[in-house]
């Protein structure tokens, strides 16, 4: 047991004596957590819309005003041709065109109906789709307002949809993305430190000396795993602190459950890093292998794109992705106040990962160079 402590002490000395390592471990996650949630924001704002108002009536002007007042749109007005505006879309100077035809007001009043033309750049599907839906909302809102104002007696068939947004009432995408990014960050740091660890000793030649020392395989692996695990938990804590201080997010569920899950999950993920370290013969190889996996894990974890909207085969791949389960757990605890009972199935799956990966980490560690 005392030997184990000496080994751990040595590992920490390695980490903190390195000039770059502490920066990598602490500064980089903090910066990422400050930047990434803003970049990974799914709300589409600042859509450039060019309005061609051919009618120039008071009603058309009111519609224009309504659109330019929306926080989603940045409106410009033009009296040029539709083709001119289309050319602007092609050059990326604007995202949407709204053409209000001549006679819009009179048509509305006489025939109780008119048409407007919406031209949308759909290269960025998300932006195009969201823009169209925002514009539709505004226009239909405008229509019902007009109807009410001009024909207060007639009661048009009017259905108003009241959305009740559960768990994230203000549709704050940060509340969704930040807990997931915390998971990603502590996986990344834990995994990468583990992946570089044993291979580093191989590269330096110190492995040979350790191999003849009377230390068991399991103890050696554990001494590699534990320091990285501690640092990972520290990153998790820092991440949750930033989530609160910067984004005002606290888990609705208990901290205890967060830590219980993270503790088990991190044991699995650091073991995964150690396996890479075991099978690699150079740090370069280890980093590239780790990068290959972490990118797939990241994109298939549901952090950025919902797993439910992936094709079936891709959904099956995510079953083998440990990050996926921890992201589910973290979001559930943060947003829904998930309890242990709610998350039982994830817990067992993570336990299986932990068990298998750790066994393989010990087995794949080869003492005898052949």
């Amino acid at each position: 047991m005392r030997r184990f402590l000496y080994l751990i002490e040595k590992e920490f000395k390695h980490i903190f004596r390195d000039k770059f390592m502490p920066k990598l471990i602490f500064v980089i996650p903090i910066i990422q957590l400050l930047i990434l949630p803003w970049a990974a924001d799914f709300e589409v704002k600042n859509i450039n819309i060019e309005i061609l108002d051919r009618d120039m009536s008071s009603l058309s002007r009111r519609l224009c005003l309504k659109i330019s007042a929306s926080e989603y749109f940045t409106a410009t007005f033009s009296s040029g041709s539709y083709e001119d505006s289309l050319w602007k879309i092609e050059r990326g100077q604007t995202d949407m065109i709204l053409e209000i035809p001549h006679g819009f007001e009179s048509d509305l009043i006489k025939h109780k109906g008119s048409q407007v033309l919406l031209g949308v750049n759909a290269i960025n599907g998300l932006k195009g789709g969201m823009g169209t839906s925002y514009a539709n909302d505004i226009i239909s809102d405008f229509c019902s307002e007009m109807a009410l104002r001009n024909f207060p007696d007639s009661k048009p068939f009017n259905v108003e949809v009241l959305a009740d947004y559960r768990f994230n009432p203000y549709l704050n995408s940060k509340a969704f993305i930040v807990p997931a990014i915390v998971v990603f960050l502590f996986s990344l740091i834990g995994g990468i430190l583990a992946a570089l660890n044993i291979v580093g000793e191989k590269e330096l030649g110190t492995m040979e000396q350790m191999n003849v020392a009377p230390i068991s395989k399991t103890m050696f692996i554990a001494s590699k795993l534990l320091p990285v695990w501690i640092l990972g938990m520290l990153i998790l804590t820092i991440g949750m602190a930033i989530a609160y201080l910067v984004y005002g997010l606290l888990p609705k569920g208990s901290f205890l459950i967060v830590y219980v899950f993270a503790a088990v999950y991190l044991t699995a993920f650091t073991a995964f890093g150690l396996i890479i370290s075991n099978i690699s013969s150079s740090a370069q190889q280890a980093i590239l292998t780790f990068l290959f996996f972490i990118l797939i894990f990241l994109l298939m974890s549901g952090i950025f794109t919902p797993i439910d909207s992936m094709p079936h085969w891709a959904q099956n791949i995510t079953i083998c992705n440990p990050i996926r389960y921890m992201v589910e757990v973290m979001r559930s605890i943060y947003l829904k106040g998930g309890t242990f009972e709610d998350l039982q199935s994830q817990f067992y799956i993570i336990c299986v990962f932990t068990l298998l990966l750790n066994i393989y980490a010990v087995v794949s560690f080869k003492r005898n160079v052949n």
């Binding site: 080994l7 390695h14 004596r17 030649g205 000396q209 003849v212 160079v369 052949n370």
Partner: protein, 310 residues
């Protein structure tokens, strides 16, 4: 009490190479007697490090048997690791730990304190002490080797395995290292050491020549020199390369090879040396000196390696 601390019998080892299996050791057998310095002498790539790794229980031979202190290197590796001190050819201590931290770490791993075996390492440790807070990576080559030796000795091993401890070390430190090994022997520690330098072999009690994975000869250095069957002549002249070419072209010359700034020559029969002298005087010119020379270990090695090639 066992007579031999190490027995190696019939060991072969192959590596997977680009063109099939490359032999690293071929039917290697030798014994290291208790309490002596045994040198494994051979050029780079001869199989020295492979032999060390097998004895240090880091590698299993493809065939053959190795015992250390009567224990099988294959089965009882755990026990063997407790009483051997292994110093690999490549510096293998933690460069980001200080001298003191390295020593403490290895002592603790073996469950001892630095003070426990101070008598053993005192001589080296006193040289290291002025640098004890320096990071191991910043030490000079000689100091690194002394530190590595210190770490290998910290748990008072019965057997020291030193793989090329003097490679890349200046002549003064080399001499010091050999003196330390002598001191270890007097304290009852058996030493197996490898080196590519023939002149160092004279410090060993027993030695084995190894080349291309084969043991060429085993014995004490003096025995090996004494068993050299012929008189060696040293030939010196102004143009050593031309001289060598000329000597090799003579039918009565058995072997000729350059040795420093001179050539060493063996002739087929003792009477032939007169012919050689005459031909040299006639065809190469004056200023060529031919003198009798006592064979060195290097002469022995070259002859053994040549015989093996033929």
């Amino acid at each position: 009490m066992l007579n031999n601390i190490i027995t190696v019998s019939g060991v072969s080892k192959f590596y997977a190479g680009a063109s099939g299996r490359v032999p690293a050791l071929v039917d290697v057998s030798f014994d290291v007697p208790q309490g002596c310095i045994f040198g494994l002498i051979g050029p780079d790539g001869a199989g020295k490090t492979t032999t060390f790794r097998i004895i240090a229980t880091l590698m299993l031979p493809d065939c053959g048997e190795v015992t250390v202190s009567g224990l099988s290197a294959k089965r009882d590796y755990r026990e063997i690791r407790r009483f051997i001190g292994y110093m690999p050819g490549r510096f293998s201590l933690y460069q980001d730990l200080s001298v003191q931290e390295n020593l403490e770490f290895f002592a603790r791993i073996f469950g001892v304190k630095i003070g426990d075996n101070l008598g053993l390492i005192e001589g080296i440790y006193s040289q290291l002490e002025p640098f004890k807070n320096r990071l191991a990576g910043r030490l000079s080559g000689g100091m690194k080797q002394k530190l590595a030796l210190c770490c290998a000795l910290i748990h008072c091993p019965r057997l020291l395995l030193l793989d090329e401890p003097t490679t890349g070390v200046d002549p003064v430190s080399r001499q010091e290292l050999w003196e330390i090994l002598g001191a270890m022997r007097s304290k009852g520690i058996s030493v197996l050491v490898s080196t590519p330098y023939m002149d160092e072999a004279m410090n060993c009690d027993k030695m084995a020549f190894i080349s291309k994975g084969k043991i060429l000869k085993t014995g004490s250095p003096q025995n090996i020199i004494d068993s050299f069957p012929q008189q060696v002549y040293r030939v010196r002249g102004p143009d050593a390369f031309r001289l060598l070419k000329f000597l090799r072209g003579l039918p009565c010359v058995r072997s000729a090879y350059s040795f420093g700034d001179s050539c060493h020559v063996c002739v087929k029969s003792t009477s032939d040396i007169g012919d050689v002298k005459r031909l040299l005087a006639r065809d190469v010119g004056p200023g060529i000196k031919v003198e009798e020379f006592s064979a060195s270990l290097e002469d022995c090695f070259i002859r053994l390696a040549q015989n093996d090639d033929n």
